[in-house]
Symmetry: C2
Subunit: 465 residues, 2 copies
Amino acid sequence: MHVLKYLSAGVAMTLFSAQLLAAQTPITNSQKQTANQLIETALDSDLGYDIVESLTTEIGPRLGGSEAEKRARDWGVELGKELGFDKVSIEEFTMPFWDRGQLHISLTSPYQQDLYGSALGGSAPSKKGINADVVYFRDIHALAEVKAGALKGKIAFVDGDAMVKSQTGAGYSQANMRRRVGWQHAERGEASALVVRSVGSDSHRFPHTGMMSKNEDKWAKIPVIAISNPDADHLRRLHNLDKPLSISLHSESKWKSDVSSGNVILDLVGSEKPEEIVLIGGHLDSWDLGTGAVDDGAGVAITTAAAALIAKLPKRPKRTIRVVMFGAEEVGLLGAFAYAKQHEANLKNHVVATESDFGAQTIWQLVSNVNPEATVLMDEIAKILSPLGIVRGGSDVPGGGPDIIPMARMGVPTIRLNQNGRDYFDLHHTPDDTLDKIDPDELAQNIAAYAATIYLIADSDVKLK
Amino acid sequence: MHVLKYLSAGVAMTLFSAQLLAAQTPITNSQKQTANQLIETALDSDLGYDIVESLTTEIGPRLGGSEAEKRARDWGVELGKELGFDKVSIEEFTMPFWDRGQLHISLTSPYQQDLYGSALGGSAPSKKGINADVVYFRDIHALAEVKAGALKGKIAFVDGDAMVKSQTGAGYSQANMRRRVGWQHAERGEASALVVRSVGSDSHRFPHTGMMSKNEDKWAKIPVIAISNPDADHLRRLHNLDKPLSISLHSESKWKSDVSSGNVILDLVGSEKPEEIVLIGGHLDSWDLGTGAVDDGAGVAITTAAAALIAKLPKRPKRTIRVVMFGAEEVGLLGAFAYAKQHEANLKNHVVATESDFGAQTIWQLVSNVNPEATVLMDEIAKILSPLGIVRGGSDVPGGGPDIIPMARMGVPTIRLNQNGRDYFDLHHTPDDTLDKIDPDELAQNIAAYAATIYLIADSDVKLK
């Protein structure tokens, strides 16, 4: 009706506008209606919370390569069938297994006090236990300057600072240097062990575990232990009082023989272009200290629930929607590399890929790394997500999520629904990552955003590459 | 000058008013001015924070009867001398010593998962370790109904709920029943061990330790372990799914031979009535899991700093101000009972007693349990405290603080400067009770209130009994 009104202004003008309109709105009214319906349904649904509750309660912690992670895969398969996915499978791969074992760590001078620590992933065992004087380093830069052999018979402690809380998680990579490569400097100094301030933004007595980086295929030969922020504060205060510090520690962690892990694949087969794949997912494994609720039970729940809501629509979207529950992410993106390798020949048919792996707080931004025509599509999707409090961001998409990195490097376009990460590094890799930290309403907002976004991309003809 | 102005209105009337005024304002202008000056100085001072930083850093955790608690007494003596107290002494007493030792506790069915627990004070050792099926009790009332012998070979788990956060700490006594007497019901049932939901208002993976109650001089013969609220939630969810639960635990905690503890006494000797004592204090010992910052390094710091500020005045107040750093509070008010016994003959000269032992958040209320004339004095003091955000409360003074209970029972009048306890039971008796949890400004507000209040009582002639 409105169009008729403008016809009098000249046919050429009207045709031009209509073309412009078509280019600007690559989403049909019917698709828009469906997306809005998905949002409404998601916001009213407990499905996502039920999934993460089930995973954390019935499976518990699930370290990459463990028996628990295998139970989680079986759980994922059963869940996929229950929720009406068309194809459900496990793709196994082999991986080296790092076992945490027991740890005791305490201050022994100037007095006896337990420290709250955890071995970092890849840490070596202490064998008989170590009791040694501590050499204090204010930060990783100070440790990086240590001379060869200068730490012989000592335990190095690398301090630093608690991470500043931020929406985007800025500061993680920088803080993470002490966790990732601190051991290489400590070993050059011939230290008996390295103790590091945890990489986290909280002030609770929880260590933050996490994987170290290899040095040209070599893992640390010394124990490397992260201690909580309050414990690190304590050591710093004692150091500043010129108190001589010594620490006793015994860690059993070590590498064991290779084990199986795997990715769980749940497909909603596309109705028109089944070979084109819109890939979403989270990682199924978790660190062993908590129950992996926020990292990344939430991501598994968000993406599985979003696809399950789409599965309830009268008709499958044109393209295939694939949920991947990646295995062994925490211990080195092993599932991600296995997926990229296994599907290498078919990655050209992966329309887009994205992962939810930044907690369970609300999504605030949609970013994309796609071609100009697809950018218009993403702009339109962002408008539909706007009532959820989501704004459109630029092309700042670091790989679409950790498990997407390998396939992004191989050319798969990525988008990301950025979550508010303000509290994420309070919990990240700690014993405190448990179900009670998830707000069901915030989780539902995530599912609403994923359901609408993924549906609209999967039902579109727009190429994203 | 002002009085002269009113003389014309009639001598009788003026005299009556003056009398009324004297009854209503038992505080002189000069005293009021001094109190205000103390408040101002306290709010600008770091002394309290420096004291609690020193105690938690240089001494660390200090379990009642431990070598660390002895170091804390020496620290207290040194501090008292430095701060200009007139008399500084230690009053020793003998006490039984409970040693925590190591604990391992994990879920073993339906799968392996570490639980975050701590032995409760008075808990018995497990000897060789226990691995047993769990019998779930929704709360202490359900456990209280258990029949004799009904738990043979089992581990009882008594659930309950996280404490509701409140300004006053309401709900602690009720929640604490499972910690205090749960073991008696479990032993009647012949359980191998008792696991209890921690008594705390947080949702962090920290157990809350604390002392159990004796049963007619008998301590528990079984291990009794508190687990964190998130762990208890986890067990409840598994129980609600009808999963069979079993737990493995090994605890080394046990009673050892008697040891020495002591109270540290710091006196500012009164200038006119040195025999009359205004007693304030906190407890020097702490639980061993944290560093006892909030419980009760804060109380020691608040009361010591308040008295130290009064010590800087040009003249000592009329009455003696005594700071007591009580020993072995956590393990049964042992220092408090020792003090009351040792000073029994002189308690009649204790004008008033009060303790700071409810954390480090701001004071919001002044309550008192004193005679009517002294009530007027307290009303006037409350007016002076009003700019600090403190209101006057009634006579709801449960003993003036834990360590005041024994002497209050023996007739010593009490007051209390009630702190906001909203977050207190998040940290209470956990590993997370560390210095970073104290806000220096809130601590300074406490010191301001104590300094003004204690000065005004000590410089008064009003009897409080």
